[in-house]
Amino acid sequence: MAVEFTLNGEWRDFAGDPRTPLLDVLRDGCRMTGTKSVCRAGFCGACTVMVGGEPVPSCQRPIGMLEGAEIVTIEGIAPPEELNPVQRAFLEHDVVQCGMCFPGMVITLTDFLRRNAAPTRSGIKEALSGNMCRCTGYERIIDAVMSIRETETPAAEAVSR
């Protein structure tokens, strides 16, 4: 029996093996390759997506457990052709190197800022403790997030769509 869910606001179904990780459904089935496959063990955070309004590692979610779930990936975190405040800050602060970790970081931080209007540096570090970057130092990422705090917070509706 097919599993039905919404992906970035659109209805989808998946009729394959219900044990398939959401990560593979997204990348192979839906061609949403912004979600990255790295450790496949819940350690690195590169595969983080929003499921039911919470950021979780998609490599750890069998699709069969997600009947009726609302899923938002990096492709749907902002309206088409737009960037959300986290994405904009990352560009402006030039923090991205290879980019493998950044879709997961954007998802995690967008949710974090929605819940924490006035974050501290240590709060940001704690929020990112499940998102690893092998290229950058984390300090510039944190600088970028702190700059958002001074201007705007990510639109809640973009996260929860």
């Binding site: 029996m1 093996d17 219900p18 044990r19 398939t20 990780p21 593979d24 450790c39 496949r40 063990a41 819940g42 350690f43 955070g45 983080t48 919470e54 950021p55 979780v56 590692p57 490599c59 750890q60 979610r61 069998p62 069969g64 457990m65 009947e67 995690t108 704690e126 929020a127 403790s129 499940g130």
Partner: protein, 288 residues
């Protein structure tokens, strides 16, 4: 790449989502040998990275309402097996006797995994040495409600740790514990991510400030967490001096046969244990 158990039995879906405990037990009993229950699924889904294929049939417990709920009263508490670490950490009230459990739930793994990984999964994942909740629940003297095809039982944590390897289907429904005047602490290293050594402590002192009663549980050192009976017996009646307690931990560390794994060799797990014992006693002293 994902690897899959292949012993499919015709007509049974590789993933079923029962709505009652009895239905889940039936599916576990009838699914064949390569059938496993999944709660948060984090241990099973990362199986392929350990060289363990995802089982042929999974019984997902996320639709069973009875396995939910964090209810903390003045005299006792109950936590449903399907509650996540994140939910538990956020739902526990600020209280000295629950501090170890709150730290265990709130510091484990990373934020994404804490939103998925459950109490029941932590209790049942044989082979997952770094479980934070188990030693914390041992300190609370928690009892585990276990459902089997023969009926339900409430057993203590030590008995549960032995029975969880038993053949035959079972499910953890909830844990229950009494509230106490004990003060608790949960010290682990590293502070984040997956611990390689854990000391979880609960303690009550007498009118002279000496240890009247204590429970010290050690996790991530041996394959299964356990109460440290030798330490507890010697510590009762003594002053809860952190340095003295660390010395006692060193003296009795031969009580353990530590496991070695990629994240830490056995000797290291044991070597840091007295430091964690000291920190646990320091936390209790500091936080009163």
């Amino acid at each position: 790449m994902m690897t899959w158990g292949t012993a499919r039995k015709s007509g049974i879906s590789p993933l079923t989502s029962p709505e009652t405990v009895d239905e889940a037990l039936e599916l576990l009993a009838g699914g064949g040998p390569d059938t496993r229950a999944i709660a948060g699924a984090t241990w099973i889904m990362r199986g392929p990275t350990r060289g363990e294929p995802v089982p042929a049939r999974l019984v997902a417990l996320n639709r069973i309402a009875e396995l939910r709920g964090v209810e903390i009263g003045a005299l006792s508490g109950r936590i449903g097996a399907m509650e996540s670490h994140d939910r538990i950490a956020r739902a526990l009230p600020e209280a000295a006797d629950l501090r170890a459990l709150a730290v265990a739930a709130g510091a484990s793994a990373n934020p994404g995994i804490r939103r998925l990984a459950t109490l029941g999964g932590n209790l049942c994942a044989v082979g997952f040495v770094a479980a934070d909740l188990i030693p914390a629940l041992m300190c609370l003297d928690a009892r585990v409600e276990v459902a089997t095809p023969e009926g339900r039982r409430n057993i203590d944590m030590t008995e549960f740790m032995a029975m969880r390897r038993a053949a035959g289907p079972f499910l953890v429904v909830a844990v229950r514990f009494g509230r106490s005047g004990f003060r608790t602490a949960h010290a682990r290293t590293p502070a984040r991510d997956y611990p390689v050594s854990i000391a979880s402590l609960s303690m009550a002192t007498d009118a002279e400030g000496r240890i009247a009663d204590l429970r010290l549980a050690v996790g991530a050192v041996e394959a299964d967490a356990k109460r440290w009976a030798g330490f507890e017996d010697r510590a009762r009646g003594q002053a809860p001096d952190p340095a003295g307690m660390a010395a006692l931990a060193t003296e009795f560390s031969a009580d353990f046969t530590p496991v070695s794994a990629l994240d830490a060799p056995g000797w290291y797990r044991l070597q840091v244990l007295p430091v964690l014992v000291r920190r646990a006693f320091e936390q209790i002293r500091r936080e009163g």
